[in-house]
Amino acid sequence: MNKPAGNFTAVPNEALRHLGTDPVPVAPYVDPAYYALEQEAIFKRHWLHIGRVSEVAEPKSYIVRPIEAANASILIVHGSDGEIRAFHNVCTHRGTKLVWDDGGKAASFSCHYHMWNFANDGSLRAVPDQDRFFDLDKKDCGLKRVSLESCAGFLFVNLDPAPAQSLRDFLGPLAEWMEGLAVADATEFTEYTYEVDANWKTLFDNFQEVYHVRWVHDRSLGKRGTGPANPFGYASEYKFMGRHRAMTLWGNPDFQPGEIEAAAARLTFVGREDGGAGIVGSNDFTAFFPNTFLLPRKIGAFTQTVWPLGPERTRSVIRMYWQGEAKTAAEKFAREYAIGSLMDVHVEDRALVEAGQAGLRSGAIDKIRFQSQEAMCRHFINQVMDVVDNYVRATDNSAGATA
């Protein structure tokens, strides 16, 4: 039975006017000095999604993740005592990077330089030739802790020594929403990464609007998300939640996929979308401030985290989380299709994002003109500029107070 294809009403301009209507400045997307402020104000002071509880499920298991924007390497380790902690991956002797691989299992970690040895709870266990040190108290020399909290199985770290908010307060209504999703129980994922010559916000913005989809993804998405009722594939709803935001993606009910795509779609949802009890997904494409997306569809919840590597270089980490291990050939095939088709879309975006950054870098334009359905981009830059302005004001005030 065909569902009517005509059901779409765009969010009216007037409903989005409160975000502002003026063009926004280009400088935050290209200026190295602005990036330096973002490093301090955003990446060293906010909750950042860094991994998944299932990656450190077993006692002694650990992962190491770089956060270049904060000049940091983070060691997340499930201690033999059962507690999962995060530390700066830095030896407390002379600051050497402690763990050089990106994960595994260990009861303790030894620094490559002078062999200081740390237990997997972060405490300093052994110091070669300790008597040569002057009044060294090992209790004072444990690894430096980093705040770590989780929600729905997603791990977040905050490099602020005293975070202004708990993760839960920071997430607001999104915390409860995430906990109700199927992905909250997911332990399996597939990951791919790519790097791009673009500011992290230029890359992030690409995924915050669907205005480009009709042309850029003419083949990879085609008429899946556009149709006569909604020729640009605009979102059916926007939600603004503190510094976070979401749009409800629209799908064209009349789209006719190719035969293998149709088989993948059918197999994808057998026992899940149609028959699976309690499997909760959503079409709300959600952007967590500052740098993570979550689209929790039922076959696989998709996350993307963009990590600035410099003012105009960004790494993108994409994951699809699955409900349990793929036990059947059909499930393996359907998952292969889901992740492969997602990559095809991202492949198309990458060149456009670099072209966008190159133009901004040229100085040819000094303002970006967002239309109403680029509301997520506008809300995002509003948040970034607010956070940076607050940081600059607070820094100026404290500089004034100590002068």
Binding site: T190, E191, Y192, T193, Y194, E195, V196, D218, R219, S220, G222, P257, G258, E259, I260, E261, A263, A264, L267, K327, T328, A329, A330, K332, F333, E336, Y337, I339, G340, S341, M343, D344, H346, V347, E348, R350, A351
Partner: protein, 107 residues
Amino acid sequence: MSEAVDLPAGFEALLPFVAHWAKPTRQARLEARLVSSDAALEAFYQAGLPLLEPALAYLDARPDDSDPRNQRLMLMVLALVQAALAVERLGDQEQGHQVSHRYFRYS
């Protein structure tokens, strides 16, 4: 001596494609696509399309099978995804895609 390239009975039509496509990792299956001409992708797609559902049914009737022929058939089913993405979705944009695809890597 290398193992004979073989598939379960009924799937012989895929044999000419095994050497290129039966790769053990997702990254290697992607790379097999990225060096394929449109004609090669079309040929594999056309050979695989009628065998997809029979292959899935055959494999799902044999869980935990250690027979290398069956394992190879599973890899061919997974590789067929890459050919289908190229043929069903991208069409004459596939070759351009292949250039940009090289920046992407499965972990």
